[in-house]
């Protein structure tokens, strides 16, 4: 069979108010800040310079939808919401600051920051559950967009899990990958394996 290269450009949404102090945002709505909007425009230009995407899929949260819309404007590729790209469900932690969670759930919080693959978030998702979602998205992309270029606009959590899976690393390495707002990651799928082309690239955000 002819070898097809499927290219997956994974980006994170732009800056939102509420990043500082650190907070478990998860499925809560936090719109893009002014800075986030400028970052999204810069990201759109960066994607248009580097690729000609066939499709853009974004998480169902407005910070990703708006970031994806900026990429859609810059590239002309059609953007759609794909619910499975949603941020991790933080359950009872959602919307709370890290300090607050650490004081209310010291054991599970410690586990989350030291052994995230083992952590059980009260009422929320485990990273393993996020991985199942992410793998479904990968299966979908490789099936429907074989040989094409697809942009996925996601969150810190889903992006890290996706990249770890592509690298063949366990979820215990979750904290060892950084995902800056509006960063660019790229992986290709060829000959039945993933190759990481770039991780957390942010040069396009200089001066934004």
């Amino acid at each position: 069979m002819t070898r097809l290269v499927t290219r997956i450009v994974v980006v994170r949404h732009g800056h939102v108010d509420g990043i500082d102090p650190p907070r478990f945002r998860g499925c809560a709505e936090f719109p893009l800040s002014e800075l986030g909007r400028r970052q999204a425009e810069a990201l759109g230009r960066r994607v248009a310079r580097g690729w000609q995407p066939d499709a853009i899929y974004t998480s169902n949260l407005s910070r990703c939808i708006d970031t994806g819309t900026a990429i859609e404007r810059a590239t002309g590729a059609p953007a759609s919401v794909l619910a499975e790209l949603a941020d991790i469900d933080y359950g009872q932690w959602q919307g709370l600051t890290h300090d607050r969670v650490e004081s209310l759930w010291p054991g599970p919080a410690r586990m989350w920051f030291s052994k995230p693959d083992m952590a059980l978030i009260p009422g929320g998702e485990t990273l393993a559950q996020v991985l199942v979602r992410v793998m479904s998205v990968l299966h979908f992309v490789l099936l429907k967009h074989a040989g094409q270029t697809v942009v996925l606009v996601g969150h810190d959590s889903v992006n890290r899990v996706l990249l770890l899976h592509c690298l063949g690393l366990s979820l215990s390495h979750y904290w060892q990958l950084r995902q800056t707002p509006c960063c660019v990651n790229e992986c290709t799928f060829e000959d039945d394996s993933f190759v990481i082309q770039r991780i957390n690239e942010t040069g396009h955000l200089i001066g934004v």
């Binding site: 069979m1 002819t2 974004t58 994806g68 759609s80 919401v81 794909l82 499975e84 099936l143 429907k144």
Partner: protein, 437 residues
């Protein structure tokens, strides 16, 4: 921004079906069907139509309304798809081809698809298969499988026409085909065929014959004798630089039901009538003289006794293919196997009406050690479903006209695309295409 979940984007259930009346290559109406799945993919198929049709074929529903297309309209078949069939299959899983086809057969309720029309039923059946392949992100050929491994077929180019395809103005026999068995690949086989086709045109022109092409792209000159057709083709093969018998073998489809009258075969061009044994004498002489590997419809569709005799005399030497005799129908093929009348079957999906039944016919032939040759119809569209089906079912040979006319070459072109896509996995059937010869 449109919003989806993977449950929707991966859902192969049928959302809706829409049929329309389009034209075939002869300017007659035919049925085209679009099947849309919940996941958004659309499978489309258009139904072909035969000129020389066996009386036992599934029924192609025509409107018989004289003011539209001389009665050949297919609005009723289209209405059956858009009404009853669309309602029945909505929500059904397109990957369940057997289930969908069983539903279509039950919905029609007749043994020969005469209520809905085989043209309505087949359009849906094939479009469902296309949609299911698209939903799985797979090329169609890879989703169509039988007990024989997939392989690239030998193209059986029908380059010289007579019989009803030439309005009985030329040879009595309908099709004279060349098969490039010595080519290393399918694409090279196409090149051999096209070069011989062009050489034949030059020869015909030089001899003052008409070089206009018939329905299937072959030439239809008014020749003096049936054997002259074979001799002209052999000359074209040699002048193109190929060796008859090594690089190229011949196949004949006399379509003898067309000249079978009152128990005798009427060879108009030779001014004589012969019985089955007399016609087999003629074939036997030709097989001795010419590199013929395949003889299709050598005798008429209900001349079972004649076929049995022909198989005894010729069945060890050449592939004897039944078309009008079997009409891709397992009951008739079963009888053929029991009565030992042939050693191969012609496969035309529109003779039977569903993909599942077509596959069953191929499987039955394989189980009996018979060959299976896939065929187009004389009224075609650019739909190339049979190209993928031939590879998937591994039948090893197909006939889909001359290397000319868009609706014919589209099948050959699709096969070249498949061969390219398969890369080193592609295996050209070559001489192994035939059970004999």
């Amino acid at each position: 921004m449109p919003a989806f979940t993977l449950e929707i984007l991966m859902n192969p259930a049928i959302q809706d079906i829409h049929a329309r009346e389009i034209l075939d290559s002869r300017g007659n109406p035919t049925v085209e069907v679009d099947v849309r799945l919940v996941c958004g993919v659309v499978g489309r198929a258009a139904v072909p139509s035969g000129a020389s049709t066996g009386i036992h074929e599934a029924v192609e529903l025509r409107d018989a309304e004289p003011r539209r297309y001389d009665g050949k309209g297919v609005k009723n078949a289209v209405a059956h798809v858009n009404g009853e069939i669309a309602t029945a299959v909505a929500g059904k899983d397109a990957t369940d081809q057997k289930g969908i086809d069983a539903l279509l057969i039950a919905l029609d309720g007749t043994p020969n698809k005469s209520r809905m029309g085989a043209n309505a039923v087949l359009g849906v059946s094939l479009a469902v298969a296309r949609a299911a392949a698209a939903a799985a992100g797979l090329p169609l050929f890879s989703t169509l499988s039988a007990s024989h491994a997939p392989r690239m077929p030998v193209p059986m180019f029908n380059i010289l026409n007579g019989g009803v395809h030439a309005n009985w103005q030329a040879t009595d026999f309908q099709e004279f085909m060349i098969a490039p068995v010595g080519a290393p690949t399918f694409a090279e086989g196409v090149r051999y065929g096209a070069e011989i086709y062009h050489r034949l045109r030059t020869i015909l022109k030089e001899r003052g014959y008409n070089t206009a092409v018939g329905d299937e792209g072959g030439f239809a000159p008014i020749l003096k004798r049936n054997a002259e057709a074979v001799e002209l083709i052999l000359e074209a093969i040699e002048k193109a630089g190929y060796r008859p018998g090594d690089d190229i073998v011949l196949a004949l489809d006399p379509a003898s039901s067309g000249f079978y009258e009152d128990g005798l075969y009427h060879l108009r061009s030779e001014g004589r009538k012969v019985d089955a044994a007399g016609l087999v004498d003629l074939y036997e002489g030709w097989i001795e003289r010419y590199p013929i590997a395949v003889l299709e419809d050598g005798l008429a569709e209900d001349d079972w006794a004649g076929w049995r005799m022909m198989n005894k005399r010729l069945g060890k030497k050449v592939e004897l293919v039944g078309d009008d005799l079997f009409v891709t129908n397992v009951k008739r093929i079963e009888r053929g196997i029991q009565e030992d009348v042939a050693n191969a079957v012609l496969i035309k999906p529109n003779q039977i009406g569903t993909l599942t039944e077509t596959r069953a016919a191929v499987e039955l032939a394989y189980r009996a050690g018979w060959g299976a040759m896939v065929s187009h119809r004389s009224g075609e569209t650019v739909d190339s479903f049979i190209a993928d089906m031939t590879v998937g079912f591994g039948t090893g040979h197909l006939k889909t006209g001359a290397p000319a006319r868009g609706e014919r070459v589209e099948k050959y072109n699709q096969l070249m695309r498949i061969e390219e896509a398969m890369g080193r996995d592609a295996s050209y059937a070559g001489r192994d295409a035939f059970v004999r010869g």
